[in-house]
């Protein structure tokens, strides 16, 4: 029996390494196995190098690395089942927690935030990444795998964007925008064009693409929903008018030449104020659905606090209210006329009623603007007293 020398052991080990086997355990196994073959099957007269080259092909079809690849495949096969199990559990948890979060949020119950965060974290940080990993193990073309994995990646970004938005965290808009734009304008076309040419997939691909495009488009349109620009504009305008009014109050006290005109002004101011009070009560009653009795029994603050939340424009003026507002505009012009007659010098005190567009105000800003006119009237009353 031949004995393998230490140099030959080193040589064989080096050969095993050089042929791509890197798992140490496997190297030792192969080394021992090859040595056993040499010791048992090589005769004293055989040439070591020749014998070694001859025994190598017993270990593989194409190259020695196959044996390591086969080992890795079998080892990860175990992980494969663990991964599938994790996908199932994380998917279920994500669904339950997100649903729970939504229900809690709708009913304003505590725990909504934490349920959302956990649910979407399970979904986007465990479920979707594992789906990408599993997809790559599946059979199928490389293009399909890449396109679907890209889709999952976009899903991760978008769902994190939604989470950030809901939790009012920074970077929410950029995440959502990136995700939705990539989904609608990159992923869906990629999905469609890589699949539609295959006859067996054509119908499903078309239906799925249309559905995804519609969902993506709708979500994309919604991503920047906040206060409408009109609401924003009218609240800015209300502030500007209020500021101007404050400045008007700094006017030096003036006296009128004609007491008759002053009296007429006072009378008109009083009537206009009354009209405004009535319009305000109409608006509040209309918005809060209160009856006249209920409104009278409620303090003004309380009635105001019962106004519904509004993020966009609602029609403030309808029917009789529109008529009343037109009347107020007309009466304001009359007040302005009487003001000019009584105090010809005080052009600054003229109220530009046309600068208020009550019809395009939200209920609250409309009420604020009406109060502003009342403030102006109070100022005129002070001057004319």
């Amino acid at each position: 029996m031949v004995k393998v020398s230490d140099e030959q052991v080193d040589f064989i080990l080096h050969e095993i390494e050089a042929r791509g086997v890197t798992i140490e355990d496997l190297q030792w196994n192969l080394l021992d196995h090859m040595c056993c073959i040499i010791e048992n099957e090589m005769s004293e007269t055989d040439n070591f190098d020749q014998f070694f080259q001859g025994l190598l092909p017993r270990f593989f079809n194409d190259n020695l690395r196959e044996i390591q690849e086969e080992t890795e495949l079998l080892l990860t096969f175990k992980h494969f089942y663990a991964m599938k199990k994790t996908v199932n559990i994380s998917g279920l948890l994500a669904a339950v927690l997100t649903l729970m979060g939504s229900v809690l949020k709708v009913f304003h119950l505590p725990g909504a935030g934490i349920a959302f965060v956990l649910g979407i974290a399970f979904f986007s940080l465990i479920f979707l990444p594992l789906m990408i990993a599993l997809k790559f193990r599946d059979e199928g073309t490389k293009t399909d795998k890449l396109v679907l994995s890209f889709g999952f990646l976009v899903g991760i970004v978008t769902s994190l964007g939604f989470l950030f938005k809901m939790m009012h965290w920074p970077w929410a808009n950029i995440l959502m925008l990136t995700g939705l734009v990539s989904f609608t304008f990159v992923y869906v076309p990629l999905y469609f064009f890589t699949r539609v040419r295959r006859p067996e997939l054509r119908f499903n691909t078309t239906v799925n693409s249309v559905l995804m495009m519609a969902c993506g488009g709708l979500l994309f349109a919604m991503y920047n929903l906040g206060y409408s620009t009109k609401v924003e504009e009218s609240s800015q305008q209300a502030y500007r008018l209020l500021n101007e009014e404050v400045q008007k109050m700094d006017q030096p006290r003036v006296t009128s030449v004609n007491q008759q005109d002053v009296k007429a002004l006072q009378k008109q101011v009083k009537r206009l104020n009354q009209e405004i009070v009535e319009l305000k009560s109409l608006i509040i009653m209309n918005s809060t659905q209160m009856t006249k009795q209920e409104y009278d029994a409620t303090s003004e603050d309380e009635a105001y606090s019962q106004l519904p939340k509004e993020e966009a424009m609602s029609r403030v003026l309808n029917g009789s209210m529109q008529g009343k507002w037109e009347n107020i505009c007309k009466m304001t012009e009359e007040v302005n006329g009487k003001l000019k007659a009584a105090y010809p010098e005080q052009k600054d005190l003229i109220f530009e009623i046309s600068s208020i567009d009550l019809a395009s105000n939200t209920t609250k800003i409309a009420l604020q603007n009406l109060t502003l006119i009342q403030m102006h009237l109070r100022l005129l009353k002070l001057i004319a007293s």
């Binding site: 393998v4 496997l26 196994n29 196995h33 080992t71 079998l74 175990k78």
Partner: protein, 119 residues
């Protein structure tokens, strides 16, 4: 992945684990080369396990906790002896029973022996 002068590899696929586990059950601890030689001897060279199939299977069984290993130095090289864990013992039994049952079913299915209770 068998070099097998008698049986097709499709036929033998899936029995390698059963062979290895039951061989270790009968022989206590064995190393890779020993396993291939024992199978060759026992089957009269009808079944020869290739190294390319044996080692991946041994590693997989080890990572699944069916096998444990002991290392022994032989000069400059290390020899790994494999033996069954407790889990491996019961798996070996299960696998052997499963295969026996499968073979009976195949015999019946392919009508290789007279059907019992058929008159």
């Amino acid at each position: 992945m068998y070099i097998c002068p008698m049986y097709s590899s499709e036929l033998l696929k899936g029995t390698l684990k059963t062979i290895v586990l039951n061989l270790l059950k009968d022989n206590g601890r064995m190393y890779g080369y020993e396993i291939t030689q024992r199978v060759k001897d026992l089957t009269g060279e009808k079944i020869q396990i290739t190294e390319g199939a044996l080692y991946p299977t041994l590693h997989a069984l080890e990572s699944q906790g069916e096998l444990k290993t002991e290392e022994e130095f032989i000069g400059k090289r290390v020899r790994k002896y494999y033996s069954l864990t407790e889990k491996g013992q019961s798996t070996a039994r299960e696998k052997a029973n499963e295969l026996a049952d499968f073979m009976n079913t195949m015999k019946f299915l392919l009508n290789l022996e007279p059907r019992t209770g058929n008159g």
